[in-house]
Subunit: 360 residues, 2 copies
């Protein structure tokens, strides 16, 4: 067995020890005589798994008691509808457009009410985060929506928008658990887990309790009401049980690593290695305004499409895989989530140096 | 490691060799250097997995070309809304109420239009399937809805309802791939996979192409339109990729076993062992009308709650687990899905005989 360095934007690399544990427990979870895949979600043994997972993410993120943690399905794309269906009491919301995912969320919200784009960085291919210190947010907006880390474009909010007292809703799919966060600043923090936490098919929603009500838009499916899942502790129907179990293992791994402050340091250190190289390279260049750079997703280009393609191919042959950039940015993108070891980034930079020397 | 006999109604037992393969491939899927959990769903290696899974279920069920196979999320509960949102053009549908899940689907449909209960077996705790040869189905009903195998109550339609020319929609969660089926008799066949096919978090929808349209009810979320997923071959957003991979392995296992005709024989043989015993036992009794008995879920009672509880406990201690019946039926329930070996049923009956002798 030989593992590659996997720079996929998601689904993405997971901690090797988590995968090893999962493999070891596949046929018999802790003496239960069965796989976690085979367990009734109403059984005591599974209840312990989901409760422990919730406890651990609460510890990691320091989630206050007046927030619920929900393990749901359908990915961020389903949240794009669920958020307005549950929150748009005044049928108005403010969206900040910093990439494809924010834009999709904004378009979906228009089905349900008056979604207003209060800022956008589309003019420069989403290569920066707009100034959000004094936005023209409608008084009666039910919430302000952001995508906090933009996977495709490699930007991240370093400062949250001034919502002027409105509820902040954030998609954190690609920066989930990558650094400490002040949950009290948000009404909803949510993300698909398939980048930093676990296998695709689980979305975690952290929601302030006052936002969970029966007063949803007419026609909202039972499964798309936060209240349905909050009242049932995420067990209204069969949850994506195996995925939640893997998430739980990643939470334990994060705790063992020292928690989110330590992860932030590690992630800063890893990103610095790559950004420092990009800043001095004569061949490779970052595509993002420096102060808005993501710690998780690092897009870069050579400026020459053929050379980009040659690099992606030779890198893959050398064991650095999934480096091709998104078609809207071109070039390359290295996603360096929590589970990417520092060594992976160091070796990638070594390889880039060698490639630059050989192709100068 | 010691595996139990797991009679859980779902999530449920999976073939041991599928679990072994999954464990072996956990850190490195076929030389890719990564787990299937870590793969981009847009990668060639994953595309092969999902395409092969679709091909195999098409082979197994002999699915005609004018039906799409969709791998979705949200379980059957989400289909309860998705079906009327997509199909209720006339805002009318006929529901046959044969258990809790059919009833939930019926209630959800009432959010979207005039859902009419055209038959029910609730008068006798859903212990039979109503006569569906000449139902009073509204002329303009968009579809007729059934739950084909009733997990909680242990009944199954042995003959499909006479829909009088209307589209038939069937939830087959608990009898999926347990016997051959004539797909052309249905407009939609769907089911959560967590009983007969794979880990919870995947729902498979087999839908006739003419039912996939843009003409859905106003307010239908993008993610709840069949067209969204059909147009993107189930890759509109990140699918529950690892779950689909396990489903694919189960499809291969079913093919190796000989396909659905062989599975039907095996399942009939297994069920007969248990039903024959129940029919002659002086202590244990089946709860369902004989001609409507499910091959998958076998509820039984002693008629004495304390004795039931004693049985469930002693059975669990002997390695026969998850035999407690649903609270609405009481007593016991043995779910004997595809992956339950004949030996498991034989040993359970041996244990029941011994228990009966000891407690007569």
């Amino acid at each position: 067995m030989s593992r590659v360095y996997n720079f996929s934007a998601g689904p993405a690399v997971l901690p090797e020890e988590v995968l090893k544990e999962a493999a070891d427990e596949m046929l018999d979870y802790k003496g239960s005589g069965m796989s976690v895949m085979e367990m009734s979600h109403r059984s005591k043994v599974y209840d312990d798994i989901i409760k422990e997972a919730e406890k651990d993410i609460r510890d990691l993120m320091n989630i206050p008691d007046n927030y619920k943690v929900l393990f749901l399905q359908g990915g961020a794309s389903q949240q794009f509808a669920m958020i307005p269906m549950n929150l748009m009491k005044n049928k108005k919301a403010a969206y900040i457009i910093t990439g494809q995912w924010a834009k999709k969320a904004y378009k979906e919200a228009q089905i349900y009410g008056d979604a207003v784009a209060v800022a956008s960085s589309e003019d420069k291919t989403f290569s920066y985060i707009p100034d959000c210190s004094d936005l023209d947010i409608p008084e009666d907006a039910d919430y302000v929506y952001i995508c906090e880390n933009n996977t495709i474009y490699g930007t991240k909010y370093k400062k949250l928008p001034n919502t002027k007292g409105h509820t902040l809703v954030a998609d954190v799919s690609s920066c989930f658990l990558s650094e400490p966060v002040d949950v009290t600043k948000y009404g909803i923090i949510y993300g698909g887990v398939q980048k930093n936490i676990g296998p695709a098919g689980v979305v975690i929603v952290i929601i302030r309790e006052d936002l969970i009500t029966e007063d949803v838009l007419p026609g909202t499916p039972t499964m798309l009401k936060y209240k349905t899942h909050a009242d049932a502790d995420s067990l209204y129907n069969t949850p994506p049980a195996y995925g939640i179990y893997i998430c739980g293992k990643v939470f334990k791994w994060l705790k063992k690593m020292g928690g989110l402050s330590v992860m932030k340091e590690r992630n800063e250190e890893k990103a610095k290695i790559l950004y420092d190289f990009l800043d001095q390279s004569k061949m490779f260049h970052g595509t993002v305004v420096k102060e808005d750079r993501s710690l998780m997703n690092v897009p870069f280009v050579t400026g020459d499409k053929d050379l980009d393609a040659k690099f992606v191919k030779e890198a893959a042959d050398a064991g650095f895989v999934n480096l091709k950039g998104h078609r809207t940015v071109g070039g390359m993108r290295a996603s360096i989530y929590n589970a990417m070891p520092k060594e992976g980034v160091e070796k990638l930079v070594e390889f880039m140096k060698k490639f630059e020397a050989e192709n100068a």
